[in-house]
């Protein structure tokens, strides 16, 4: 007997996983550094290219490529942030936002100038597991992206709840001044946030390079959905970002299946319809976080 909506649910989890890996890092930066980082997509792109180089030229397996991309993207993202955002920390949210837009353009076109416009594919063998009686199939690739995302969420949860750095992060996100007078080195916390956010973006980049390709705009293409998921989940809340990402993913997949043929192209727009509805009902997003002021 076919399970109703099982296939749509799997597709939704896959779409949500791609979004979630990017959204966690994006929302960590928003919560801790208090800035909307429009260059986050480019950190994803860096991960995509590193993953491509690791698999195609390094000859390593995909899990190893993920680790390499995580490390390289983390260090690169942190270094970029130290050079560009950190000196402007006290300038306020708007200058930081503008800086991130400019930085994103520079990075995107810089990568285009270096790597060229060609799309680079990451070859990965895929096995399909069919459960025809239950009415769905799932591929090894889909299981891998869902598994990587759930593992990242689990590690993040342990990091935030069981380590001093993680607890300090939460304290800083809650009230930076209070954290500072409590003896927390908020500069170190910011460093940790940039490392974590950029590293997760690198992992997202590798997965996108597998599903699409490594190209200069692969990360930027995901940015709108990532921002939507972060706001939907409650800007600044990593758990909310994960929930928002999966809500979007499942919403998009289900809408493709059930929207009338004439408007099925609007399935991507459903993400924003969901955002509007949730914010109307719950202005702080799913996690109901307090909206921060600059």
């Amino acid at each position: 007997m076919a399970l109703p909506l099982a296939q749509e649910l799997i597709f939704g989890l896959v779409i949500g996983s791609y979004i979630a890996l990017g959204a966690i890092g994006f929302t960590l930066v928003y919560g801790l550094v208090n800035m909307i980082n429009f260059a986050h997509g480019e950190f994803i792109t860096i991960g995509a290219f590193v993953g491509y180089l690791a698999v195609v030229f390094g000859g390593v397996s995909l899990p190893v490529a993920l680790l390499v991309a995580l490390l390289v993207a983390a260090v690169t993202g942190w270094a970029i942030a130290r050079l560009t955002f950190e000196p402007m920390n006290d300038a306020g949210a708007v200058p930081l936002l503008l800086m991130s837009i400019g930085l994103g353009l520079v990075l995107r076109n810089g990568m285009r100038a270096i790597a060229g416009p060609d799309r680079r594919n990451v070859p990965v063998a895929v096995t399909t597991y069919r459960f025809d009686d239950l009415g769905f199939f799932v591929t090894s690739n889909q299981l891998f992206i869902i598994g990587v995302t759930l593992f990242a969420v689990l590690v993040l949860h342990l990091f935030l709840s069981r380590t001093m750095v993680g607890i300090s992060m939460r304290a800083t996100a809650d009230n930076e001044r209070l954290a500072l007078v409590s003896g927390i080195d908020t500069r170190q916390i910011r460093n940790a946030v940039w490392l974590a956010a950029s590293g997760l973006a690198g992992v997202a980049g590798v997965m996108l390079a597998v599903s699409q390709s490594a190209n200069p705009s692969v990360g930027f293409g995901q940015l709108l959905l990532i921002i939507t998921a972060a706001i939907l989940g409650g800007a600044g809340s990593p758990y909310g970002a994960v929930a928002g990402s999966y809500l979007l993913g499942v919403g998009i997949a289900v809408s493709v299946a059930f929207l009338p043929a004439d408007i099925v192209a609007l399935s991507s727009t459903m993400a924003f319809a969901i955002l509007i509805v949730v914010l109307l009902v719950r202005p702080g997003g799913i996690a109901n976080t307090e909206v921060r002021t600059s």
Binding site: G12, N121, R130, S268
Partner: protein, 459 residues
Amino acid sequence: MGGSVDAANRTDRRTFLKKTGACSVLTAGLAGCVGTEGNGNGDGNGGTPTDEPTDGDTTAGTTTEMAGPERVVIGQPASLTGQWDFLQPAVSQSTDLAVQEINEAGGPLDATLEVQRRDTAVDPQQARQVVRQLVDSDEVHAINGLFSSEIVPLWDFLQEQQVPVVTPWPGTTFLDTRGGDKGTDDLGDDEWLWRTVIGDTVHTSGAAEAMIDEAGIEQMGILSATSAGEEGWTRQFVNWYESLGGEVVEVVSAQGGQSSYQSQLDRLFENDFEAWALSFALEDATTIIRNWDEGGYGRQLLMEDGLRDPGLIDAVGDVAEGAWIAAGSTEGPNFESFLPKFRDAGDASLHPWGVAAYDATNVIALAIHHAGEASHDAIQRSLGDVARGGGTTVTTFAEGKEALDNGEEINYEGAVTNVDFTPHGNVWGDVAVDRVTPDGFENEFTIGADKLQAEIDDY
């Protein structure tokens, strides 16, 4: 001390404001001059200083009527960045190859041919600025470029410029009845755009014909992007396919740039059909084809002409093996001689638009030489003359220049088509349905241009 610094700052600011104001007035004045000095519409000699006879031309005390410019400039709006940037390298390489050959043959009007290439990112607003820059600042004699998505919104603007545009890019049906010289000598009815690539109407009618008559497929589904070009292809294909008796059971549309298209495929393949068509840009098409293969959906795949790219083979040549791709002929009368020269010129991946860019550059150069002057009006008048039938057949600029210098009329036969311009400035060609293999494309069957011309009334 602090007070003096403040005073100095105030003075600096005041000085700065004065200078800025003065510069603004000067700039505005210059802009006004540029805007009124000549609109570059080809009145007389195109308004370009380089068209003036040189001192050397008048040393004998007479002005030579045929004295040409020292250099002729073709403007090339290009997709150096943006979604379609991967297509530009072949077009740039082909254009540069043609320019090199033309200059080696002495150039049009014995002038040096140059290309001024500027990036539009295939954005209509940026394209508008680029065209204005090419016409007003670079004072180009003709333009070689512009995509469908730039031409359609800028149509009136382009007509106002009255600069001949010969473009290798657009497939849009918008141009089916627009452009060209309408087959008359009267410039008044001309529309200043010609294309050297086969239009979507020809592609889609050929694809539909092939599906019905050659493959015997009577029911199809379509997965289409929502971008203008892909939607246009889909709409045209559905019209032709259903007019020939086929049935399109469902069209599933989706926005590009998604990480997975499994939902859209799942929805499409709930329907009963024999083959499905895919109308997406290359980046998304490769994702979709991988998703299709992983999902085991099966059935015959037909892809739109834009996907006939070596990049498709590199990315999914193995999983898409056996799929069909319907595209206008990529091999015209001059293709065999063009191909080795193109390969020697660089390492860009060749595609039909790249070949068409070679034809566009040659046609412009021949038209300039045929015209005997480099004014916009004269070039526009000559474009049809050098490429339509009725003269000595030539396949290169060198051959054409020699024939023209001997007083003969010429008929340029191109590398992608025979470039026999219709009254609307379009070209015909066969439509080939190729089969995808891991090593490339292999011809499955071909629908002749003659058959398509009989079916398409206005083109």
